[in-house]
């Protein structure tokens, strides 16, 4: 069971997040202050941390900086009510691994915590495989079984990201941030349109689907059963 340390001063927000995490099968530790949080983080045991940016008497980033200084590498998701353009960049530079702006949908939070826990290890593999799907990173080609899939560069990037995070829920915001590297929320259903294209190429009508749309939440790539 994965252990998550939550450092959040607002009791109500904390209890909602904890309830959801417990429902999803995580063990949760809660610290309401920065000092307490830092102690709990130092004692180890957490597989991932959720740290609020604004804590009474302490900046959440200070905690992360202190931990990184002590070579504690636990992945951290930073929560912030500050939506500043560079705030996210700063949060990531200070050692945060992901950044989520309040208010957020709870599924977004869970998806990001899962992603932190299952971060793909840096591998030297040049061929990635999920079931019958195979990506050649050097040749930039994709095949499903014996069928070659003709992909545009942007579609290859998207598929590569999904293959590296197979079986994980990927929200639209995550895809937009990670694949397109943009920090703003587009007004149109851009991600859906791009995903629709990719899906038609990866999943032919006669094949069992691999890309699944989780209604209202995001997308998952899975090997066919």
């Amino acid at each position: 069971m994965a252990r998550v340390l939550l450092i959040e001063d607002d009791g109500e927000t904390a209890s909602e997040i904890m309830a959801e995490l417990v429902d999803r099968g995580f063990a949760v530790d809660w610290a309401a202050t920065g000092i307490d949080g830092l102690d709990k983080a130092r004692s180890g045991g957490a597989d991932a941390m959720i740290v609020d940016r604004l804590l009474p008497g302490m900046d959440g980033l200070t905690i992360i900086e202190a931990l990184r200084h002590e070579h504690v590498r636990t992945p951290v998701l930073v929560l912030s009510a500050l939506g500043a353009i560079d705030d996210r960049v700063r949060g990531l530079r200070m050692g945060g691994d992901d950044y989520l702006t309040k208010p957020f949908a709870i599924v977004e939070l869970i998806a990001r915590v899962e992603a932190l826990l299952r971060r793909p290890a840096e591998s030297r593999e040049t061929i990635l495989r999920v079931g019958p799907l195979q990506l050649d990173l050097l040749g930039r080609t994709a095949t499903r079984g014996n069928r070659a899939i003709d992909l545009l560069p942007r579609e290859f990037r998207l598929l590569e990201y999904m293959v590296r995070r197979k079986d994980q829920l990927l929200t639209r915001a995550m895809l937009f941030e990670e694949v397109w590297n943009y920090k703003f929320v587009p007004q149109s259903n851009l991600v859906d349109v791009h995903m629709g294209r990719l899906r038609r190429k990866v999943d032919r009508p006669d094949e069992p689907p691999m890309i699944h749309n989780v209604r209202g939440e995001g997308f998952i790539l899975r090997a066919p059963a």
Binding site: G83, A84, I85, D86, T101, P103, R154, W180, Y182, K183, F184, V185, P186, Q187, S188, N189, L190, V193, H194, G196, R197
Partner: protein, 454 residues
């Protein structure tokens, strides 16, 4: 005693200092003139009396007395003084009562006080005199009245008084006038500024319509006030708009939840109502987020994050991002990048601005329409142009669409916050570029970017 207000101004103090210096210069000049004139006259008199004394000494003794009397007779101005005195000091001839006191015989001429006696009586005069001791032991004194010199001194002093006092008075008057004038304007400006501080933003500083520094200063302050007034007004307007645009979805959420609580019979009914409520809340939150973001960009003064951005690359990426969605709508989407110019800016923000324009174009262009996204270089600037074959907007709406929350009547039916163009404006302004809405057909927006120079 309290001096009047204007005497305490810098202008007046300077006038005082300058007048003082002026008076001192005049005094020195007149003093010099007097000194030179007096020296010249004294010198002439000295030479005259020395020569005369020499003549008398050279005369044969028997003619000496007559010669003295003759010369004294030929002196209508009564300036000549001469006297021949015996060794015992007794007067033998001339009009001097006695040898002047302190006069040294056979020396250079010197100033003395002498007493003149003649038919008109006895008179003490200031004179230059020279004395000669004769071989007989008699003492010859030749002198000349120099009251003229003090008369000249009098004239000079009079001239000084007549010239200097009016000049000084004039200087001080000019100082007082200038000082009072400046004081009046400053008082007026102070009054106006106090009214502006008190909240009357329509007040402006007075200008005289002449090109003096004071007017120029007032003009720039007025320009600043124009900007502040416009900002304050736009903030006030935005406040109203925010209240309205937030209330609408929140009211819908509230009503929906209330009705569901009373009327829902199944869990599914309740779920549907909650889903509706979440959509409404998300809409309100998106609005707040967008507003904060615009405010943040507008207030951002840190240009340190700017770097060289290749415009064509950004435009190609936007094209890449929006091409599928345009294709789905069967809109012909043409991307033209024939220049490879760079500008100084924030890459992400420029991307967002261009993406917003394209987003709008895709939203408002009907099926089968056409969108053109192009970057063209002309001279020192590059222009990013987004044009579509949609309904466009009327000329009257050109300025309005750049405002927060303005939504053209034609766009009422489609989703959106009415903040997209406002965000574009904020980003463009941050970069010092210009956003122009061109007359149609369709909607054409241009961002004119100044090229980066190394």
């Amino acid at each position: 005693m309290r001096l009047p207000e204007f005497t305490r101004t810098t202008t007046f103090r300077w006038a005082l200092v300058v007048s003082g210096a002026f008076a001192l210069c005049i005094l020195l000049m007149f003093g010099f003139v007097f000194w030179r004139a007096a020296a010249y006259m004294t010198d002439r008199v000295d030479r005259g009396i020395t020569e005369e004394a020499n003549l008398v000494v050279a005369d044969p003794p028997e003619r000496r007395l007559d010669a003295i009397e003759d010369r004294l007779r030929q002196d209508p101005r009564r300036v000549k003084l001469e006297g021949l005195f015996g060794p015992d000091g007794r007067r033998i001839a001339g009009n001097l009562e006695s040898p002047p006191r302190g006069l040294v015989a056979d020396a250079a001429p010197q100033s003395v006080s002498a007493v003149r006696v003649d038919a008109l009586g006895r008179e003490r005069q200031t004179a230059r005199a020279v004395a000669r001791r004769m071989p007989t032991g008699n003492l010859l004194v030749v002198a000349r009245n120099v009251d003229e010199v003090s008369e000249i001194a009098g004239i000079v002093t009079d001239a000084l008084v007549l010239g200097l006092i009016p000049a000084l008075a004039l200087g001080l008057a000019a100082g007082a006038f200038l000082s009072r004038r400046a004081q009046t304007r400053i008082d007026e400006v102070n009054r106006k500024v106090r009214r502006i501080v008190a909240g009357d933003l329509r007040e402006r500083l007075p200008t005289m319509g002449i090109d003096d520094p004071f007017d120029r200063l007032a003009a720039s302050v007025n320009g600043m006030l124009d900007e502040i007034e416009a900002l304050v007004q736009s903030i006030a307007g935005v406040g109203d708009d925010i209240a309205h645009d937030l209330r609408t979805p929140l009211t819908r959420v509230r009503v929906g939840l209330e009705r569901a609580r009373q009327n829902a019979h199944t869990l599914d009914d309740l779920r549907a109502a909650v889903d509706q409520a979440i959509v409404g809340l998300d809409q309100s939150l998106a609005l707040v987020t967008a507003l904060l973001r615009i405010a943040e960009i507008e207030q951002s003064r840190r240009l340190a994050g700017f770097s060289e951005v290749a415009l064509a690359d950004v435009v190609r990426e936007v094209g890449d991002l929006y091409e599928p969605i345009a294709e789905d709508k069967r809109i012909a989407f043409k991307v033209a990048t024939d220049t490879n110019t760079t500008v100084r800016g924030d890459r992400d923000l420029l991307f967002e601005a261009i993406a917003n324009l394209v987003d709008n174009a895709v939203k408002f262009t009907p099926q089968g329409g056409r969108i053109e996204l192009a970057v063209v270089g002309s001279g020192s600037e590059s222009v990013v142009r987004v044009g579509d074959s949609g309904p466009g907007i009327s000329a009257a709406e050109h300025d309005l669409v750049l405002r927060r929350f303005y939504r053209s009547d034609k766009s009422r039916g489609s989703p959106g916050l009415g903040l997209g163009l406002c965000l574009v404006t904020a980003i463009v302004k941050l970069h010092g570029f210009q956003l122009t809405i061109r007359p149609g057909p369709g909607f054409v927006a241009e961002i004119a970017c100044q090229r980066a120079y190394a």
